[in-house]
Symmetry: C2
């Protein structure tokens, strides 16, 4: 039997959860009996049934003696739902093919062990790289306590974002902006800085219609919006406060009175940071650790050049997404990121991960290069 | 009969001449008799037989009644070789399929007419776009008197070329540098500026071994090296003067004594430019017109940020080739091109033509956008 064929299908199903499962991982499950797919499922939302439950329900009696393909090790603990390993055992499946194990310390091999103890054949590591990628944020948080940090930048061909005067407009086209909406939608939190809030006054929300993604209305959620505001400069007129969704303000100062939000628009919390020397004086590593502790898997940084530069210079970025528009803004225009390097030896090297056209713009995705030089 | 199959082969043959035919166009010819290719040829070097002659020689008697595929209209005039149209007539071919007509005023439809007058069936415009592309420089020169101007730039991900101090090193990798050698080798002239010569002291030659191209030794040629040196700052110690190949110095000043070159290294000429206001004070349009008048089809600009900026700002670039290395040099580093724009309305828009990896670097090819905006 070609396990990869069914696992690829399970991964497709898992990917449907990309915008809705957090803080849980995205998981897909396929049940195959005698070469026929008899059950399929994906985890839709935290607190709701896991992928295996959906697939077993669909398979019913035909799960007996079947092979179950799961993109992540089935859970072995009682959480908001009973353990899936037990569900598979009770349904009488004969074999489980898993893509990767669950680094969650509550699972971490216990799921596969529970299956084996019940006499079920277990095959591990089928398409594990793909399965890891789909949950890279969850995996990183489970292993390190920190979320995956992605930064989105938009620049001209000559590496600029606006004219020296500050004059600016959409540099990239509608397709790139829609792509950014998808980046936002898959993130658990979006980090921006007081500079951006004061200058551009964005709402930083996910606008489902602009994502181009079809998803049940009940599954859309607004990521936590985090404002790095060391000196509490953001005031009550910020559009961010009006728009729906939770907000976290990261500052080195205790607020006198908290900012005001419309009733039922969402929570507003403060996180007090130790003051550090580097701009923006908020301890970004500590902030990320805090976000990890509250179940944030993937963070999107959408900020001005100064905060973006701080994240990059401090080595906190896991993935760089640069939209490049086919235009030149000239040598006096504003730089992509504030990054005051002086020697070639300080250059920050990356590794290409993906290059593709998004409408009229080019999208470059890079990851940090681990010290390898030309 | 599927004409495109044979024309595609003829275009492949034409492309072999990419590094050697100038000032002549690159031309390929395939002769097909009864579905069988009986003759093939490509133009190798100015003064030597044209593509049709090679193909007819190979076909011999089998050219009689055959179809000839030519990527460019056969010539109709006596130049350094007799007219190819006559050669095809004398060989008794029954049909000629042409990709595009020759804009050379000495030919310009007369070649096809001569064939038709001799009772040969002529089919025109088969794969004309591809055939135009392979000779875009020649075509532009024939139509406008100006060569095609390509500019090569190399930058970091954030649009920089060197540190503020001037500290620099290869930003791009070996594969990109080899690709630049190919760009040089296909060009009839390379333009650089006095800034680059004084700063980097390059030789600006084609080093065949570094191109990765296999070509008979006799076919390699050195492009004309043009130095834009408004104030005659370049001295006898310039490495450019030592290396083999002709040199043209474009200046607004008459030289007192010409620069010295080793015996047999190549010609050294001066071109006196009217002085213009814009940096670099040499009239670049007039220079290009002069280069067109001496048979230069393709020009490669390899210069510092100032001269590159002048070419771009004056709208003289037909093709932009930007090698982008996966590294960040920071916001204090030197800009890609000196281009002092102040308003968004002045931004220079381009159109993507090709995007591909060259080793570890990304190569972006763009052409000017004809005024269309997002």
């Amino acid at each position: 039997m070609n396990h990869e064929v069914y696992m690829a299908r399970a991964l497709q199903l898992a990917a449907r959860g990309i915008y809705s499962t957090s803080p849980n991982p995205r998981v897909g499950c396929v049940i195959v009996n005698n070469g026929e797919i008899v059950g399929e499922g994906w985890h839709q939302k935290a607190g709701e049934p896991h992928a295996e439950v959906h697939a077993l329900r669909m398979a019913g009696e035909r799960a007996r003696g079947a092979t179950a393909y799961v993109t992540l090790e089935p859970c072995s603990h009682y959480g908001r739902t009973p353990p899936c390993a037990l569900g598979l055992i009770n349904a009488g499946v004969a074999r489980v093919v898993g893509a990767c194990s669950d680094p969650n310390p509550q699972v971490a091999g216990k799921g596969f062990a529970m299956l084996r103890d019940a006499g079920i054949e277990v095959i591990e590591s089928c398409m594990s790289a793909q399965a890891e990628t789909i949950n890279s944020g969850f995996m990183k948080r489970m292993r390190t306590g920190l979320p995956l940090v992605r930064i989105k930048l938009a620049q001209s061909l000559d590496g600029r974002t606006a004219m020296a005067s500050g004059e600016s407009q959409w540099i990239t086209g509608a397709a790139a902006r829609s792509d950014v909406q998808r980046l936002r939608a898959r993130s658990c939190a979006i980090i921006t800085g007081a500079d951006s809030v004061l200058l551009d006054n964005p709402s930083m929300t996910v606008r489902p219609a602009e994502t181009g993604v079809e998803l049940e209305a009940r599954l859309w959620r607004q990521p936590l919006r985090v404002i790095v505001d060391g000196q509490l400069r953001v005031g009550n007129n910020a559009r961010l406060l009006q728009a729906e969704g939770d907000i976290l303000i990261a500052s080195t100062r205790q607020p006198g009175a908290p900012l005001l939000r419309p009733a039922n628009s969402g929570a507003l919390n403060y996180w007090l940071s130790p003051e550090v020397e580097q701009v923006p004086h908020v301890d970004l590593t500590a902030l990320l650790r805090h976000l990890g502790s509250i179940g944030i898997n993937e963070v999107l940084v959408e900020s001005g050049a100064r905060l973006a530069g701080a994240f990059i210079e401090q080595g906190l970025i896991d993935e760089l997404v640069v939209y490049t528009a086919p235009t030149m803004l000239g040598s006096d225009a504003r730089p992509l990121v504030q990054l005051p390097l002086t020697r070639m030896a300080e250059q920050l090297r990356w590794r290409w991960q993906d290059v593709r056209m998004v409408g009229d713009d080019l999208r470059l995705t890079l990851v940090p290069s681990c010290g390898d030089k030309h």
